[in-house]
């Protein structure tokens, strides 16, 4: 592997690692605020115990998110110094604003986690709200940066030896935050966090249920997670669809790669796995007209194409497929709840093993969709890092030795990941709160 590949591998690895905690940092506080609110109204129920256990997990998760995020912010300079030269001035503002969101999040998290016996129940619940808001806001700010990389705006160009480049003196940091991709990417990312974390939490308690640990506590955990992802997932489909239409307009190379369109033309089918296809549907979905012409990979200039467009397609299908699986889980879950309700039982949760298994699978599925979705975005933009202005190869550092830091960080993340999972599993099985109500 050459230095560029090591740099891409290190960045990719760091992002894949960090994004797990970003997603948790965005949506877990939402869920915790929700269950703590329930605990105020139903103090005898299992909600308080849930909120307390989750807040312990959140404290540990937040730390891993914070340290991996710190590494990322430095890696911009370590791995992509020329990206910083070109982009730092133009798109730095959302990074700086994100810094404030992190401050608010860290401050209130400290109060929340250490304040259980210092604050009144109501004050404690209120402290959770800024955590949830600032988590979501930081996710929005970083996505604004990513949207700019996909469709850069907010500067004038000047001639350079390899085509137009960014004129630093013309940088307009406010307009740069309004890339056309923002409107679709930001909601899609926020929803993806709610979907993935809701699914993950539901999976933990559905698993307990499958193992016959049918306590009120586990029931409440399963319900809370399922409610969150069930609300978010239909919106996620609408939002994903709008994203797709947007990349058709803005990033034809990514669209062709994601949808697997080989030849330019109208009446493009929707490609499904195993070579199946639905005739005309891709063209139709863009603007309800099967005659819509889509640029295929054959007409995309090679300077705009990732090495392996089929990987983008695969990632896209995995994202959508995971979403469909979770939709099935949510639909069957609520259908079963409704049926039992008709039969006169008040909000009885399903005990059907198929539904429980689907919920268990929804845990990994949500996170898989997040990772593969970012694959579509990031790998689908190659070979550009700032689309149309700076290639990844030009952005990479000229210093030797990236193989060394790559290996060091890989070992570090593997170790952190393993220890973290072990600590969290201990929390689930050993903590007295977990057994409460059992």
């Amino acid at each position: 592997m050459d230095e560029l590949l090591f740099a891409r591998a290190q960045m990719g690895l760091s992002l894949i690692f960090h994004i797990v905690f970003s997603v948790l940092g965005m949506a877990l506080p939402v869920l915790i605020v929700g269950v703590e609110w329930k605990s105020l109204r139903d103090p005898k129920g299992p909600w308080l115990a849930l909120a307390r256990t989750w807040s312990k997990a959140m404290a540990v998760l937040f730390v891993i998110g914070a340290v991996s995020g710190t590494a990322l912010s430095m890696e911009f300079g370590l791995l992509w110094p020329t990206f910083m030269r070109q982009a730092g001035g133009v798109i730095g503002l959302p990074f700086a604003l994100e810094g404030y969101a992190f401050f608010v999040e860290a401050i209130f998290l400290g109060i929340y986690v250490y304040g259980w016996d210092r604050l009144t129940p109501r004050a404690h619940w209120l402290v959770g709200i800024p955590i949830a808001i600032s988590g979501m806001v930081s996710g929005a700010f970083i996505t604004i940066v990513n949207a700019w990389m996909n469709a850069p705006v907010g500067f004038e160009t000047i001639a350079g030896p390899n085509g137009p480049t960014i004129d630093q003196s013309s940088a307009d940091p406010i307009s740069a935050m309004l890339s056309p991709m923002v409107i679709t990417q930001v909601p899609h990312v926020m929803l993806s966090a709610l979907v993935a974390v809701g699914g993950g939490v539901a999976a933990v308690y559905a698993w307990a249920w499958l193992k016959n640990r049918t306590s009120a506590y586990n029931r409440a955990g399963m319900l809370a997670g399922t409610v969150m992802f069930s609300i978010a997932i239909p919106l996620q489909f609408i939002s994903g669809h709008l994203s797709t239409v947007k990349i058709y307009d803005e990033q034809p190379s990514k669209f062709a790669a994601a949808e697997g369109i080989l030849e330019t033309g109208p009446n493009q089918p929707l490609h499904l796995p195993f070579g199946l296809e639905i005739p005309g549907l891709t063209s139709f979905l863009i603007n309800f007209d099967t005659s819509t012409v889509v640029t295929g990979l054959n007409d995309i200039p090679s300077t705009d194409l990732p090495e392996k467009p089929e990987l983008v397609h695969l990632a896209f299908q995995l994202m959508v497929g995971s979403g469909l699986l979770m939709t099935a889980a949510a639909a069957l879950f609520w259908a079963s709840v409704l049926r039992r309700r008709r039969a006169g039982k008040r909000l009885e949760l399903p005990t059907n093993r198929l539904i429980l298994w689907l919920l268990v699978l929804s845990g990994p599925a949500g996170f898989l969709a997040v990772e593969t979705g970012w694959m579509v975005t990031e790998y689908g933009r190659q070979p550009w890092v700032i689309r149309g202005f700076l290639t990844t190869a030009d952005a990479v550092t000229k210093q030797p030795g990236i193989a060394g830091t790559f290996i060091a960080f890989m070992v570090l993340y593997a170790a952190l990941g393993i220890v973290l999972i072990w600590v969290l599993l201990r929390l689930r099985t050993e903590h007295p709160d977990t057994r409460m109500g059992a």
Binding site: T70, F76, R85, G88, G99, F108, G401, V419
Partner: protein
């Protein structure tokens, strides 16, 4: 294929404009906050590692209690400084990344291990043997990180970092940070954070425990004194430009102010005026950083990158400054709430221990 730089010259010696000066000031303020607050947390790690004597366990507990609620927020000051640097002086950030990958990676691994190990150790539901091991990692990482950061900072002033005509670093990744001077600055940074931590812990401790930390603070003060006396003379040789402006230029007052604060803090500690000692220690840290900044002016990286040469467009810096000002409206009350809850007398309005849930 190389990308043209759209900066006239990153070593431009023209006077920096007002937004560059303010942005540089903002970075210094963030660095002071990080050195004082974050630094004390690293120092906490050092004293955790060296917890000794009959009260070793209590010492560790106090450190964990003191850091627990606040260290995350303290850590963000670093991220904030980095972000303002790369937005307002993007070319300087790029050069730092190219020139110092080794010490920065070491510091990053240290930051990651320290944070993670502290959180894992605080996971009281995990077995105690595991938590003890995490405590050791936490302490070791707390030693490495300030040392690496100090050495990296010294490298920026060394003059060993050189650029080619396109403004890209062409010196070795080992340049500048392995000199005796840089290692001396690393040691100074380490002893300073240990001193800060011990003086702050005196404020939180009582009785014999307080006496433990008082003794540790006195020890650290000696270490600060020794490292400073060894390192400073090396400066005349290793970083002549810095040395000249420290001894003859604008930064001259700080060569007096910083040690004065240091001595004042030591005396206050000796006569057990713990609050005064802590305040003076903060003053000393701030004076060192402001003095360093003043002595480096107008360079960010000597002698190749200047404030005006690396500056982003003025409207970008202005946007950051306005954003930073607006952000303070949220940040200051939030920080006040955090510190008054865990570091001071409890404000009665939010807290009513009677109404709070019983401890479990």
């Amino acid at each position: 294929m190389s990308v043209p730089l759209v900066y006239s010259s990153i070593g431009d010696l023209a006077d920096p404009n007002i937004t560059s000066l303010l942005a540089a000031g903002l970075i210094i303020v963030a660095l002071i906050a990080y050195a004082v607050l974050g630094g004390a947390d690293y120092g906490g790690g050092v004293w955790d590692l060296f917890a000794r004597g009959p009260r070793a366990k209590e010492q560790r507990t106090l450190i964990a209690q003191a850091m627990g609620p606040v260290w995350e927020a303290n850590h963000i000051w670093l991220i904030f400084a980095v972000v303002v640097l790369f937005t307002c002086f993007p070319a300087a950030f790029a050069v730092v990344g190219e020139a110092l990958p080794v010490p920065i990676s070491i510091a990053l691994i240290g930051i990651s291990l320290r944070g993670a190990a502290f959180a894992f150790r605080a996971s009281y539901w995990a077995p105690s043997a595991f938590r003890d091991r995490m405590g050791t990692i936490f302490g070791m990482a707390s030693l490495i990180t300030p040392f690496g950061m100090g050495a990296a900072l010294a490298a920026l002033a060394s003059g060993d970092i050189t650029l080619n005509s396109a403004g890209v670093v062409d010196s070795s990744v080992w340049a500048g940070w392995l000199t005796p001077f840089a290692l001396g600055v690393g040691a100074l940074a380490l002893s300073l954070v240990a001193y800060l931590a011990a003086t702050f812990l005196c404020l939180e401790a009582e009785g014999k425990l307080r006496e433990d930390f008082r003794q540790r603070a006195l020890g650290a003060a000696v270490a600060v004194g020794i490292t400073a006396t060894i390192t400073l003379p090396l400066a005349s040789d290793a970083v002549p430009s810095l040395w000249v402006s420290l001894t003859q230029g604008v930064a001259r007052p700080f060569l007096v102010i910083a040690p004065t604060f240091g001595v004042a803090s030591l005396v206050a500690l000796y006569v057990r005026q713990h609050r005064l000692a802590a305040v003076a220690a903060v003053g000393q840290t701030a004076a060192i950083l402001v003095g360093w900044g003043a002595a480096s002016y107008p360079y960010l990286i000597f002698p190749t990158v200047t404030l005006s040469g690396a500056a982003a467009a003025p409207q970008v810096q202005l946007a950051i400054l306005v954003g930073a000002g607006a952000g303070l409206l949220v940040l200051v009350p939030s920080l006040w709430l955090l510190f008054s809850l865990f570091k001071g007398k409890m404000p009665g309005m939010v807290v009513s221990p009677k109404g709070a849930r019983p401890r479990r």
